[in-house]
């Protein structure tokens, strides 16, 4: 028994030198990275004014706030809150739809198999990337300057920032499509537009529909917060009640948001399954 083990180790050492005799650089890389990560963490905590006393004082304060949140109580403003919630859902639905409608043609321009020239594709992609680099809240602030305070600014903000995201996602879906069907259309004498309409779109539309539904879901979350800068919806009420320290109303509003998001998740999950469930889920 012992003899066999000895032979085994020797043979194994000889056979897998990369496992047993790794160079020092490879062995030290992981601990070095962990130490570096920890060092940055400590530097960050110091630089961002973390002090234990401040932390515990804040925690204490937070405890009081949570106690004051119980029980959740809308007071007499329930109708206003329900209307605000409706506004939020409207913002999410409209914004996402607008974004999808405008992003589809642009995403064709950014897809490698539709526009082979990289000189044409490059500016479109960078344009979409820059739009995505700017947060929805920033777009909301910009649109408020244009159309004034209110939910309409929120719709436009979500539409613009999702336009960037959809453009990228759609173009990836189009690039992932099977070329054979496009070639088939071309072989039977179809024009470039026919290729897109009958070769590409039938393949990518279910994928796109799934993504749009998913974004409506996630935009319900984004739409709840753009109210904080004044672009309508339930976030406006939430920010207001937090500022005036009406904690019972705050907790009620947060509960409303949680329920609404869960409901939308449920519905769009069902719809997504109905649209792409029977085909292979992309």
């Amino acid at each position: 028994m012992t003899g066999r083990q000895e032979i085994d180790t020797v043979a194994l050492r000889a056979r897998y030198p990369e496992m047993f005799d790794r160079p020092a650089s490879a062995r030290l890389a992981m601990p070095a990275m962990i130490v570096a990560a920890f060092a940055i963490l400590v530097y960050g905590l110091v630089d961002l004014d973390f002090s234990p006393s401040r932390f515990f004082a804040g925690l204490n304060q937070l405890g009081w706030i949570s106690l004051m949140m119980i029980p959740p109580d809308p007071g007499s403003s329930l109708p206003i809150y329900l209307k605000a919630l409706g506004e939020t859902l409207s913002i999410a639905l409209l914004g996402t739809t607008l974004a999808a409608v405008f992003a589809l043609p642009v995403s064709l321009l950014a897809a490698r198999n539709v526009v082979p020239s990289s000189i044409l594709r490059f500016p479109v992609r960078r344009f979409l990337d820059s739009i995505r680099g700017v947060d929805t809240l920033i777009w909301a602030l910009v649109w408020i300057n244009v159309v004034g305070l209110g939910p309409f600014a929120g719709v436009l903000a979500i539409a613009v920032s999702d336009f960037g995201a959809f453009g990228k996602l759609f173009s990836e879906a189009i690039e992932g499509a099977d070329q054979k069907q496009v070639e088939g259309i071309r072989a039977s004498g179809g024009s470039a537009l026919h290729e897109i309409r009958f070769g590409l779109l039938p393949q990518v539309l279910p994928v796109i529909a799934g993504q749009v539904l998913y974004f409506i879901e996630s935009n319900t979350r984004s739409a709840t917060i753009i109210g904080i800068v004044g672009a309508g919806g339930i976030g406006l009420q939430l920010a207001e009640q937090i500022r005036v320290l009406e904690w019972q109303k705050v907790s009620f509003l947060i509960l409303m948001i949680l329920v609404a998001v869960a409901a939308i998740d449920f519905v769009s999950g069902k719809l997504r399954f109905a649209i792409i469930g029977r085909r292979a889920v992309a």
Partner: protein, 294 residues
């Protein structure tokens, strides 16, 4: 080419054609039905969101001229004619950007640590008791669904103005998001090593440490890096509610109509996000190979 295509007799063909038309008609009807419902929902939403096309068209020029204005200096020149004047506050902005990056880094790391500690309780296959699993899952769901900036609003009141509130808000939101993703990785892990280790009489903790963790760390790190990217964007707006970072400068510039500053700060944010995206993408590629990049 004269390949004979067998054409069915008229009668048989008529039946098949009718069936085909019926199937197509049914499909079209369903599509039409869906489209009508969708259009109605959109219409309702348009009323709910007070969409006013007249405002949009009346002020559409504003949107374009807004971009015209943010790319002009005070003396009317285009910003790129005098870069020094345009980026006059670069020292301050770079410091704020550094703070933004630090906020997202510290927030992501704290969030990932908590997610790591909690996710074994939330995963179907490793949770010690169903009750614990239920509680941890609801907690993570809560942390994930409440937007980070709402936490920031509340934390600013509890912890005072400053980056600390931003860090904690991002940490909580990341805990929720990463906890879910981490537990999904654990659920996909191979359970045979766990059985092997349990058969030696090991405790639950040792099972996790020696059987599950070695399988999942690569996935964890990959998701944590992705989360860091997302958090940089999130941290860039934390300043809107007074929770530190570059957002503070941006919101002041937008609200006070310092046009060229708006474009300068937006430019620095976009460039930073690009650099972070590219470098974390590169890092993920280096660490985990191409295939885990999803």
């Amino acid at each position: 080419m004269t390949v004979a295509v067998s054409i069915l007799p008229e009668q048989q063909l008529a039946v098949l054609n009718a069936a085909y038309r019926q199937a197509v008609a049914r499909k079209r009807l369903r599509l039409l039905f869906g489209a009508v419902i969708f259009a109605a929902a959109l219409f309702l939403a348009a009323i709910g969101a007070e969409v006013n096309l007249r405002t949009l068209f009346a002020h559409y020029g504003n949107f374009l001229s807004y971009f015209d204005r943010i790319f002009a200096l005070d003396n009317g020149q285009r910003v790129w004619t005098d870069v020094g004047e345009w980026l006059w506050g670069w020292r301050k902005w770079l410091r704020m950007l550094g703070e933004t990056l630090l906020i997202s880094y510290v927030g992501t790391l704290i969030g990932a640590t908590f997610a790591f500690a909690l996710n074994f309780f939330a995963a179907e296959n490793t949770s010690p008791s169903p009750w614990l699993r239920f509680t941890v899952r609801r907690l993570l769901e809560f942390a994930r669904t409440v937007p980070g900036i709402v936490f920031a609003l509340i934390f600013v009141i509890a912890f005072g103005l400053g980056p600390m509130a931003g860090v904690l808000a991002i940490a909580i939101h990341s805990t929720g998001a990463l906890g879910k993703l981490f537990s999904e990785i654990v659920e996909n892990a191979d359970m045979k090593p766990v059985e092997g280790i349990r058969s030696t009489g090991a405790s639950w903790l040792s099972c996790m440490r020696f059987a599950v963790v070695p399988q999942v760390t690569a996935g964890y790190a990959s998701y944590a890096l992705l989360r860091f990217e997302v958090n940089v964007r999130e941290a860039s707006v934390m300043g809107f509610v007074g929770a530190g970072g570059i957002g503070q400068e941006l919101v002041v510039a937008i609200r006070k109509f310092y046009y060229s500053d708006v474009s300068a700060i937006l430019l620095t944010i976009i460039v930073t996000v690009f650099v972070i995206d590219i470098s974390t993408g590169w890092l993920r590629g280096r660490l985990f190979g191409r295939e885990t990049r999803t």
